[in-house]
Symmetry: none
DNA sequence: CATGAATGAGTCTTCATTCAT
DNA sequence: CATGAATGAAGACTCATTCAT
């Protein structure tokens, strides 16, 4: 059976998970550079050498974490069905997807912090991988704007610019939710933001 | 006009500038942690010790850069005058200020990249200073929303959430402008974004 | 006999020894501050990082050296048995102990020099540890004087002052033995000093 | 007029004093190595370059401090007059000299601490100078013992060993006086120590 | 004479990665 | 497979000394 993912026997899979989880939390706590292999293997409760048995470098784990996240996100973002009369109205579908994606990110606090906090790192490989991640998300958004425009749901906009702006907005919102002492529900946040995005702030 | 800053003789001022500029570029290129004192002094073409003559630590230069940027931004962001009949209409004033601020950031490419790329660093002092910087900008935005609401220019919104969202949006836009191969003019970008922000994307 | 010290497998023990020995010599040669990690690892023929695998800092090795020395000294200094009719007479016991302790210090030339040469260092931790070491020795001496006084072996003296004086005397004597081109035997030195201490220099 | 000391005009003399005093205190506080030129010029309230106008290096000031101290000590230690029937009895003269010397050292607290705390330093020049200082004192003591022996005041001793032992004792006593919370008078200390030295501790 | 800005060798310490067991 | 001891490059920072003004 063809598979993009290298098939590992369950034991190794399990170890890999263990390391990925540990790394995710450490990256979240300390940022990419601040995360030490020491902290990761400590949390994963494995030996130093074992780490390098599963990942060839620090940036490799980082990459894998982003890979997994991207895949999950992609699974959540289907095409919005406009033609099927049985489907929910587009705006409802849109809202559902955004809520879903945001909830995915926000509920995995470690992932969210990792994504927010990992800035440019001196490690070129990691930096590139992160750029790529956000690039993909931005593409997702851009295509969404383009479709919306085509089907006349949205007015004429510059999709690329808007994608960049909205990606930033999402990051800002996620940060708001995560760092807030009494985090609002994702639903309430999406309602407010979506309203603003769709209709603007003008009275 | 009296200055808050300790007055240095022109020579020292000049050196300080030289170091600040070099540091800004290095931070922009490599992020806070990735920036080495070595790289900074290399770029500034000074000796190791000279650096510590002007700044007591790496995080101190970083701080100073943010201080200067914040001060400049604040100078650009006046209160919007609504009552004076001789003043430009509020929306025009708003647009001017945003254009001004954005232009300030974008035209200092190094500063822009520094602000975008500096993520969580293991250096607590630097991290805090950066948080503070964005916190101040967010406050500026929040107060703007609150005023707008009070004078009934804007509809009822959650100022804090919107401030976070718009700060993120601004970061996204700045990144877009900076990284774009053919960067659009700030004016055109502001027009598009402002329109969206005020009236939404709906057709 | 159970050991207070964490038990290490022989390999690590050996390495630790190797580093301690190297450090002792370097400290002896250059004093605490003058001793560089570089010199220590050079002498121990290990890599920089290896040093920090066994000791968490320069002051930690220093501390360990003093710990070991103190423990050895303490093992050499038993209470003097006055009552047991089978034991050697007190003066003989005293002489034996002093000879033993002095021989221990003198024969480990590096240790002796380290103890003599380490003055006030800017490193607070190391300085404190050294003070503590000599403080303990002084206490040993003070208690010895107090006991001697109680059992009427010694005449009325100020134990604290005398302890300080004799500790200094011992340092002086050790220095004499160590730096002398033809070092006298410890026994001969102890005989002379002990005689003076007990009966004075007057004809 | 011949003079060992280079004659300086009063202004320079004064400046020199100022620096020597400052340096003495700083050396006393932090030991030789821990003393920074910065601390010295700060305390002397002079500019960096000025320091090097008066002393060619850090070790040079250190040397000068010891020179001055040695000269003062020598002035205090005359030959003990045994023959002159009008002179005080030898033991009284001895006591006076010791009290005088000790008082000189103890009352100049900074000097005392400097002498006690300056251990082997990595600075070869300074280390040598310090050894020389104590060597001279030891010689003074040795000659005293030799004379005492010649005139049959003292019994047969090993002058060199005893000089080393007594020098150490003196250091111990000075340390005791200086570090004691309620320092005893020098006179009382000398009485006790001298008694012990002359007659021993035996009951 | 006095100044203090500039220098750069040298310090301790960290940490990603390798490899023999 | 797993281990963890060993490595050494690289990092931030200090400080005695020089020298142009």
């Amino acid at each position: 059976m063809a598979s993009q993912v290298v098939v590992l026997d369950p034991q190794k899979r399990e170890r890999r998970r263990q390391i990925l989880d540990a790394a995710k939390h450490v990256f979240a706590d300390s940022g990419y550079h601040g995360a030490s292999i020491h902290a990761i293997i400590d949390r994963a409760d494995i030996a130093r050498g074992t780490f390098y048995l599963y990942f060839e470098s620090k940036s490799a784990v980082f990459s894998s974490i982003l890979d997994e996240a991207m895949e999950s996100l992609r699974r959540l973002m289907h095409r919005i069905d406009v033609d099927d009369p049985n489907a929910a109205p587009p705006q409802v579908q849109l809202r559902q997807q955004i809520v879903g994606a945001l909830e995915f990110v926000v509920q995995d606090r470690a992932l969210a912090m990792l994504l927010l906090s990992a800035g440019h790192t001196p490690d070129a490989e990691a930096a590139e991988r992160l750029d790529q991640f956000f690039g993909e998300v931005r593409d997702l958004l851009r295509r969404a704007f383009e479709s919306g425009q085509e089907i006349k749901l949205l007015r004429k906009v510059q999709p690329e610019l808007l994608a960049a702006a909205f990606l930033g907005m999402i990051r800002g919102v996620v940060e708001h939710i995560i760092t807030h002492p009494q985090p609002p529900t994702v639903e309430s946040v999406v309602d407010e933001i979506l309203f603003v995005a769709l209709r603007g702030v003008l009275a």
